[in-house]
Amino acid sequence: MRLALLIIFSVLLIAPAPLHARDKVLDIQEVTSPGGIKAWLVEDHSIPVIALKFSFKGAGAALDPASKQGLSRIVSNTLDEGAGDLDSQSFQKELRDLSIGLHFGSGRDNFGGNLKTLTRNKDRAFELMHLALTKPRFDPEPVGRMIASNQSRIRSSLSDPDWMAVRLLNDMAFEGHPYALNSGGTLSTLQSITSIDLDNFVKFRLGKNNLIISAAGDITPEELATTLDTIFGELPQVALQPAPNLETQNQGKTAVYERDIPQTVIEMIQPGIARTDPDFHTAQIMNYVLGGSGFGSRLMEEVREKRGLAYGIYSGFYLSDHFKGFSVSTATANANTKHVLDIIKAEWSKMLNKPVSQEEIDNAKSYLIGSLPLSLTSTDSIASILLSLQGDGLPIDYLEQRENGIKAASIEDVTRVTKRILDPEKFVTILVGKPEGVTASKTYETLPNVE
């Protein structure tokens, strides 16, 4: 009954409404399968494409033991390398012949999957996803191949200073916590991963009770309901031990990894704020003004536009289950490193000591609200947004709440939240290159958790 009403509702909304904004940002339906599995759906039959995304909360790399770093990554690379009666090549060939996009991925917190299919191939697509999740084969050949390919990826990254800077930032800022480990594995830990590890991963981490699901595109709520049971109905209940929460480690320290390159890569992080925090909308405005917006942001104006010191400079929130950060990244010629760091600090002080202008706040609001529809232009991106809302435990009408929250923020709110968040003394700073004029509190000789 409820489902039927939802369909009517959504059909009305899907009628094109050109040249004026719609009442709702996005018409999201909650669908519950006969077996009790829930998903969020945005129906759209204009293109014969269906996107289905899901995530096993808390099942990601933070649970990988230090001696098996990269385990989640290898599972994500091998679940689609053979399942049931299909060996690796047969499974991959079916995916390719039917143009089914079936991918798994692992972050530090969650382990997830994406399915994208043409409507005409949906039944087989759902069946293949079901097989991959419930009867993965983990044959020695593909497992060995994926380990080798990840080892290649790591070796390739060793000439990429951006990658190195991020690796070091994780090592410093998350010291002592599983987040400090290398979620992509190290050359040696990858080698130690066996098919038993992979089997256990699936058995103990992927459960019906830590699953969130989103769908978008050419599928009705009824059909999605049935599909949910087909794909996920057999999954067990699992009990996961979450990693502890974490404060930024090594605050105020600057680490240098010296490389013989013309430019120094700069990565900085200080404590941040959660997306579920009532101040988050206001914090987004602060970030937009400071460094989140690209052109027009204070950092971009000072570093790039006025002085030509970098190709780009950005600030942003680092949001994970157990750590909330606020980061800045850029790259500048070695000789300018100190200059750029000084500008960043000065902009922090300016934000802290002087209220933002009404014009700045108005510009931030109109962008943050007005740009949302730009991320709703493909089946895939809509499904991603639905999943991310659920991942953070946000309500189904969050996009409307967000709009109201942003609109409501005043100059005083921004000042208060800025003082709550920004603290230049708490920065962990990573420099990769040959930075000039900088005193390091730590120097790295090698990259940790890579070999």
Binding site: R145, S156, I261, G296, S371
Partner: protein, 511 residues
């Protein structure tokens, strides 16, 4: 490589995004047709159109493509100029890309930086990028602001007038861009060297970003000369994708772009031609930061504009030889012979002149690049002598047809596809009827192009270039086995290393 105005959030991710667009474009639109050549037999208009775009042309020569898509009340508005790095004056490398940056630095009625700030205020995003054959500017924004962004875009088509101090600081920005994307990672320089060796006496051998020493000398006079020569409505394509109709866009464009005068001085594109080359070229680059060797072999082959029939057949070959985990190269080199941890083939159809077909592999530990090169040649010989099977042909076509459906599931993707096509000499029909034309490719054609362009034992006017990017430690091993016809060796300079932006997926801190 394509250079953009600014990185979106993280530089490497932006590049990655652009690459994805191109992939879409490629899969979907071969983008180039051989529009006005004699190969008429292939300009079929069979089958259904992919996008159902509407086209118009203004009296001043501005071409217009509209791709209606009413899913969300937003539009992507793009202007593509048919000029890029390959159209630069000698000694002024990077000027096309520098001009692209300067287009944001103030024009009649807009202060420096005001363009992007205005777009942002209206809730939109904007950016720009430069390739060898095109320079493009775009905004994605709520449909009610289309008129505003059109007005600003029209304003800078002929009215650029940046303050000189802005030119000075922006020159520093492009030098930082070059450091970040090319010079900070040896892989960036390797790509540049491979191109330089393949395109001898042809502008495609010069990087779009420019050579550092020439970039340092670029002035506003250089940029202005280039701008006055190439920028105008009759050398541009306007593309609007999104919640609009063709009639709406046509009306707006007449009003806003219509008053701009045609520029009669716009030259016909003519590039220097590569002479026949007689040596097998090998590019060997060693660097202490390299831990994973790379091998690549690049061929010069026809673009879609040059020969549509050959280009379509090459697209089928690319799909069979290099398209993913079940492709021939991957199966043979990675799964069966265990010589490599990755292998593939890529072919870009969207180019004004010759284009590059690249075969690449990542050697497995202990495997010498030469072994891999031999294995690649073996696969190519098999392709030349035995051709492709009926099943391979059919499967590849089915996949490419599906890619065309997926391509519609995007706002800016279709606009990108048309932009690439029209800027490199193809037509709207070439994009719209791509699936039907792929359907007509035969196994004989595929074998024929393989024989003519990819035969390891063939003789070519422009022989392929084979490149090895190696760690310093392997020096002795590699050198002794090298065929020493012509070795372009790049000694690592003191201040060497780079970031090429291709490793977006290795950003482990990105949740």
């Amino acid at each position: 490589m394509i250079y953009g105005l600014f990185p979106a959030r993280k530089p490497s991710k932006f590049i990655f995004m652009i690459r994805l667009f191109i992939l879409i474009v490629f899969m979907i639109t071969p983008l180039q047709a051989y529009a006005q050549t004699e190969v008429k037999a292939d300009s079929s208009t069979q089958g259904e159109k992919v996008f159902n775009a509407e086209t118009f042309k203004l009296d001043n020569g501005l071409e217009i493509v509209v791709i209606p898509n009413h899913r969300t009340p937003v539009v992507t508005h793009m202007v593509w100029y048919k000029v890029g790095g390959a159209d630069e004056m000698q000694g002024k490398s990077g000027i096309a890309h520098f001009m692209e940056h300067l287009m944001f630095k103030g024009s009649d009625g807009l202060a420096s930086g005001e363009f992007s700030k205005t777009v942002k205020k209206l809730g939109g995003n904007d950016n720009a990028f430069t390739g060898q054959d095109y320079t493009a500017y775009f905004q994605s924004i709520a449909v009610e602001h289309l008129e505003k962004v059109m007005t600003m875009e029209a304003g800078r088509m002929r009215g650029m007038n940046p303050p000189l101090q802005e030119v000075e600081s922006e020159r520093k920005v492009i030098l930082e861009e070059r450091r970040q994307r090319t010079d900070n990672d040896p892989r960036g320089r390797f790509g540049e060297q491979m191109n330089a060796a393949l395109y001898v006496n042809h502008p495609y051998g010069t990087p779009v970003i420019g050579w550092f020493h020439e970039m340092e000398q670029l002035s506003w006079d250089d940029a202005k000369t280039f701008y006055d020569k190439w920028y105008g409505p009759n050398n541009a394509v306007l593309i609007v994708s999104g919640d609009v109709t063709g009639a709406q866009v046509h009306e707006l464009a007449k009003k806003i772009y219509g008053p701009l005068a045609r520029v009669d001085s716009i030259p016909v594109r003519s590039r220097t031609i590569s002479p026949p080359l007689y040596a097998q070229t090998k590019v060997l680059q060693r660097h202490p930061a390299i831990r994973q060797a790379v091998i690549q072999r690049n061929y010069r082959v026809p673009s879609y504009r040059q020969n549509a029939k050959d280009s379509l057949a090459l697209q089928v070959i690319e799909e069979i030889m290099g398209g993913g985990a079940t492709s021939r190269f991957y199966k043979s080199l990675v799964i069966e012979q265990k010589l490599a941890t990755g292998a593939g083939m890529s072919y870009r159809a969207d180019s004004w002149d010759d284009t590059t077909l690249s075969v690449h592999a990542t050697p497995a530990p202990g495997k010498h690049p030469e072994e891999i090169e031999r294995a690649i040649e073996q696969e190519l010989r098999k392709l030349v002598s035995e051709g492709i099977t009926a099943e391979e042909l059919q499967d590849s076509k089915t996949r490419m047809q599906a890619a065309a459906i997926y391509a519609r599931d995007s706002l800016s993707g279709p606009a990108m596809a048309f932009g690439h096509a029209l800027a490199t000499g193809s037509s709207v029909d070439d994009v719209e009827y791509w699936p039907g034309r792929i359907e007509e490719v035969t196994a004989e054609q595929a074998q024929d192009v393989a024989r003519r362009f990819l035969d390891p034992d063939g003789k070519y006017d422009h022989p392929p270039v084979t490149g090895y990017l190696l760690p310093s430690a392997e020096k002795e091993v590699a050198l002794e086995n090298m065929v020493q016809d012509e070795v372009v060796e790049i000694e690592p300079a003191a201040n060497d290393n780079t970031e090429d932006g291709q490793s977006a997926n290795t950003k482990e801190a990105t949740p």
